[in-house]
């Protein structure tokens, strides 16, 4: 059995105590939301996807056997729901699949506002926000398979081993995809920003 801090609450939840699931939501909601956001590129949609992913996790929590960490299992659900969401959106007419927030556009999102409030220099903030928006746009322009490894490794800081478990792909594939993803992101940013 893998050492997993969530396991106690997972077991309680599997016995039918839904209150224990609140602890798990508390622990993982932020990471789930950020993964969904970096893949979908839209905050509101990421919120919806995260909720759906949590509900799906709750419904099938009895199927979780503890072969991997609960968080790994949970993030895999988030990624799958995010990808499914993108596919649904791609089918919807007039929707730009890679439509991340436009650079410079001050999106009224809780995360951004909070970030602004915590930073001293407004000029720096605008510059940082713009840079972040460029990065997000370029991430959103990457193929899905590159995007997910990049999000997990460079944004969320997962180990290669964890990425293998979450995405269920071999270590070599993770390495090669990540290399290509970084290279593609570098090219995109050079095109958008100029000199890095």
């Amino acid at each position: 059995m893998i050492d997993d801090a969530d396991m106690e609450f997972v077991l309680t939840c599997q016995k039918g105590d839904s209150a224990a699931f609140e602890i798990l939501v508390e622990r993982h909601q932020k990471k789930m939301l950020n993964i969904a956001y970096r893949i979908t590129g839209n905050y509101d949609e990421a919120c919806d996807v995260t909720q759906e992913a949590f509900i799906a996790a709750y419904k099938s929590i009895k199927k979780f056997k503890g072969e991997a960490r609960f968080s790994t299992w949970l993030y895999r659900i988030a990624i799958n729901y995010s990808k499914n969401h993108l596919k649904r959106m791609a089918k919807t007419a007039g929707r730009e699949v890679a439509g991340a927030d436009e650079p410079g556009q001050m999106k009224k999102e809780a995360g951004f506002y909070q970030h602004f409030r915590n930073t001293a220099n407004p000029g720096e903030l605008v510059e940082q926000h713009e840079r972040e928006a460029y990065v997000q746009k370029c991430i959103a322009s990457l193929p899905e398979e590159y995007r997910e490894v990049l999000v997990l490794r460079d944004i969320q800081g997962f180990s290669y081993e964890d990425i293998c478990h979450v995405l269920k792909i071999p270590d070599g594939t993770v390495k090669s995809r990540l290399s290509r993803a970084r290279s593609a992101l570098k090219d995109c940013l050079k095109n958008v920003i100029g000199d890095l």
Binding site: F21, E22, R38, A46, C47, Y58
Partner: protein
């Protein structure tokens, strides 16, 4: 490290410090000699830093509460189905109601079936109660012991064999029962239904016999000698199913006499004493006429 194209993958792994010692050494040697790859490495480091610096978004207010509200909704749905349909829970009223419903239906069907059964059954014969009927309960009283040990069955003094074919009522009944009992396990449903049918037929014919028997009262001066003579006469007329019972002050014979011999038989009886023809049934339909002869004191 033959060319810069191979460096792409290696630089990415170098950034994460997951290259083998050998590959790392070779890459570092190459980087010293290749400004293009050094620039690629620097760009890659910047890109990695930019992604790492991306702000973490905060969930909106009440995000957890929204999720938990949906989770509780799901839990209620689940507990509802579990409460009502999960088979291992005892406290489920559905099973109790279902069981009660089945019992009520079963009782109703059983009763309805009984009524229908009564409708198709023939009406019970309302023949006058004969002595044989009166004595049946007494016979039933000693049945179990007789059935338990059929070979040890003892005939009473009053029950004597009066002809080769004569068997006392009690013996006959006990034998039938013991035979039934010994064959009960081996009987197929078909055999059982046949034997049931036979019993029913026997009951019906017995009722008919009671209705159609000649009941003759023979008044004599000496009951014992008259009874002895009557036994001889019965044997003479090849009476079948003959039996004899002694009760208070009288001896009762039951037998079946051939239709053609009945008149002669009655004439013979007149030699023994005075005849009172109590009941004279319509016997035209029968070949063997059931006769009950009561020998009484004058």
């Amino acid at each position: 490290m033959k060319n810069c194209k191979d460096m792409g993958n290696k630089i990415s792994l170098y950034l994460d410090d997951v290259l083998s010692a050998e590959d790392k050494r070779k890459l570092e040697e190459h980087l010293k000699a290749c400004p293009k790859c050094r620039e690629a490495l620097a760009d890659m480091q910047k890109v990695k830093a930019m992604t790492r610096e991306l702000s973490e978004l905060e969930p909106p207010p009440w995000f957890k509460q929204k999720i938990m509200a949906q989770v509780r909704e799901e839990a209620q749905k689940k507990s509802f189905t579990e409460k009502w349909f999960y088979p291992l829970r005892i406290k489920i009223p559905v099973q109790v109601f279902a069981a009660i419903f089945i019992v009520v239906i079963a009782v109703y069907v059983y009763r309805a079936g009984n009524e229908q059964f009564r409708e198709v059954m023939p009406p019970v014969a309302t023949a006058p109660l004969t002595q044989e009927q009166k004595e049946e309960p007494a016979a039933a009283e000693y049945e179990p012991a007789e059935i338990a040990a059929p070979p040890a069955y003892r005939t009473t003094d009053e029950e004597k064999v009066v002809a080769g074919s004569i068997i006392s009522d009690k013996q006959d009944y006990a034998r039938q029962l013991s035979r039934k009992e010994s064959n009960a396990d081996a009987e197929t449903p078909e055999v059982k239904s046949r034997s049931l049918q036979a019993v029913m037929e026997k009951d019906v014919s017995s009722a008919q016999m009671k209705q159609e028997s000649h009941i003759i009262v023979l008044r004599v001066s000496d009951i014992d000698s008259a009874a002895a003579h009557l036994e001889k006469i019965l044997a003479e007329y090849n009476a079948s199913r003959a039996s004899k019972q002694s009760t208070d002050g009288k001896v009762v014979f039951r037998a079946e006499i051939g239709k053609e011999n009945l008149k002669d038989f009655i004439q013979k009886l007149k030699t023994l004493g005075v005849i009172e023809n109590k009941v004279s049934a319509d016997v035209d339909a029968l070949e063997q006429i059931p006769v009950v002869i009561e020998i009484q004191d004058q």
